[in-house]
């Protein structure tokens, strides 16, 4: 170990002490500090309002398949936060992904049309045929995760990632496999634009960006949650396309 590493170690340890002391602070009476582990306070806080779906309305029980027209009526509360209460964050996040894909393709622009040089050996039989079976299944699974994102665990990011994985496998399996960039581009544009357009329509119809202007229906129905599933589908498409783009670009670099 040279001097530099020891210095780094000492600094890191000091930094650790500094961060960890935040957890050790015991608040005096009337003060607030970090919540203890497992004691996250969600009573009377924003989180509880989200769970009760009572940001704008009164606090009522939300019952599976019974409660109707609750605000942001998706059963998965995380989804309702991601795609409705804090949808601007999500728009931003999609934008970051879009940025990464765009930036990456700008960086690797010169070799755009080169063949993948990632695969060293000739195509293996098992890989090739296994992927043939897996590919539709993965697409299906991904689509399911996206479409059921507002009802069950999972969501568009996860689903999008699964779909992108399918294409990753395709790309891995064969040197010849080429993605049609025009289609990718069309999906990319459509998904992104429709996300923003949904938001803008909300602005036009209800006077606020990204408003849930559709009827929210009954909790836990497939067609419930107003714009949440629609947004989730656009996000899912976008994520899938961007991740595929990223993989494609990286593999061809």
């Amino acid at each position: 170990m040279n001097f530099r590493k020891i210095l780094a170690l000492i600094t890191i340890i000091l930094l650790g002490i500094f961060i960890l002391q935040a957890f050790l602070i015991i608040p005096e009476k009337g003060e607030i500090a970090l919540n203890n582990f497992g004691k996250a306070d969600i009573e009377n806080r924003t989180a509880q309002l989200y769970i009760d779906k009572s940001v704008n309305s009164t606090n009522e029980q939300v019952i599976y398949k019974e409660s109707k027209d609750k605000e942001s009526g998706s059963a998965n509360i995380v989804t309702s936060i991601v795609a409705n209460y804090r949808a601007l964050d999500t728009l931003g996040e999609v934008t970051v992904l879009f940025l990464a894909a765009t930036g990456l393709s700008a960086i690797l622009y010169n070799k755009k049309h080169a063949k993948s040089n990632f695969i060293l050996k000739e195509d293996s039989f098992i890989l090739k045929n296994g992927i043939k079976i897996l590919f539709p299944l993965l697409i299906l699974a991904g689509s399911y995760i996206i479409i059921y994102g507002h009802l069950s665990p999972g969501g568009s990011f996860q689903g999008g990632a699964v779909i992108a994985t399918a294409f990753l496998l395709k790309l891995l399996s064969s040197k010849e496999y080429e993605l049609d960039e025009n289609i990718l581009k069309i999906i990319e544009v459509t998904a992104g634009v429709s996300f923003v357009s949904i938001g803008l329509y909300g602005l036009y119809a209800e006077g606020s960006f990204l408003t849930n202007f559709l009827e929210t229906g009954t909790i836990a129905n497939l067609f419930s949650g107003g714009i949440v599933p629609i947004i989730y589908i656009t996000i899912g498409l976008k994520v899938a396309v961007e991740l595929t783009n990223i993989i494609n670009d990286l593999m061809k670099a």
């Binding site: 500090a33 622009y109 581009k185």
Partner: protein, 484 residues
Amino acid sequence: MVNLILIIALPLLAAFLIPLFNYINKKLPSIVVFLTTAINLLIIILNYNQIILEPVIIELGNWQAPFAINIYVGTLELISITVISIISLIIAFYNLNHSNFSSESKFHTLYSIIIAGIYGIVMTGDIFNLFVFIEITTVAAYGLTTFNKDKGYEAAIKYIIIGSISSVFLLMAIGFTYSAVGSLNMAVIAAASNLINPGLVRIISLLFFVGIAFEAGILPLSIWVPDVHSIAPSAVSSTLSGLVFLAGITALIKIFFNLFADPSLYVFLMIIGAISLIIGELIAYQQDDIKRMLAYSSIAQMSLVLTIISVGTKYAISGGLFQLFNHAILKTLLFLTAGLMIKYAGSRNISDFGGIAKKIPLIAVGFSVGSLGILGVPFFNGFVSKIMIVNGSLNAGEYILTFLVLFATVIEMAYYLKVIQTIFFGKISINPHKIVKSYVPIIVLITVVFLLGIYPELITKPLNQATGELLSRSDYISNVLGGM
């Protein structure tokens, strides 16, 4: 009244659509971006009179204000977005002719998004949303940096490493804040901040500082700045230096004045800023590369702004803010003209610019107007802000700080004048590389500089109001939370 969220949404929409436009016509993306920035300026102008009367809170998704994301546009934000919209319009105009990159449409996409991100940083009233917009801005900046195919990658990798580390700290600060307060809304946090354990406030505010200051030009954190700003294309350099820094400082101000208004923290900020100021100026003096010099000068200027603002009195803050906006305008001018001079002379070294003023007078005049503005010559906009800074710091009894600030200005003068003398009075030693023309952006910027220099009322009156709003947190809180 047009909803101000449009100024974030429209650039994003434009960016998402650009691949399509590019398919139709290669020239279209730049025109679309130009139009969006123009529409943004229009939207802001339409809203100006109303916001100056009272702050506007935009509730996104029709959710009640403190519970979901909201956008807060007070006077400070209003001035910031006005400046941003003007400058982004000018740069977008410049991009119409000067963006001959190998993947031009992608450049415009990134540029459009970075503008949206900057607006977002300035306007948002939610700390996690702030993080998202900071990430949008930085990721776009990473991408834009790489448009220099020579050394852009090296600059970008340094930028990415530093940026990722600080984003981790920023997230940590957000997590801690959320855990303590239970909300991400700035007004709620501000209302609760007196209750938070002071030790925890220290930790959180330090983490916030580290997370944001790397985008605000404070030295140990912004050490990547000279690499990135000097390497990136001129339009990007001026965006990064003029606008991203502006947004970063605005975010810092929000954190340290709206969220945690703990006066004992200001001493830290002041010391950090002052050290960064002096070191920045001293290093800037050494540079031969003109854009590197400007980048260090940006660091110094931002540190100056931070230092002065952290004096924490009314006069000091309004002086510092004025300097911040001046810097945005002037650095845009400086980077654009410096970029054009580099293109013309085919070199980045100051010593190669000898007598360039005779060949491209307008660009040389633009550069010197920018420098003189930064140095605070009367009737340039920098003069008013400089004397406001001196007044503010003396008013608060900060004699040493005043001395340091003025000392730094003398060093600054030394290196800017070196360039001016070379370009105007130096021996002609250039064989023109390329004919460069860009009249409109430079003339517009020069006009703005003189307009603010001769009628500072245009900005000092709103600035006083903004300072008043900054210093009365309770107003901010009650504005957002309403009767709660």
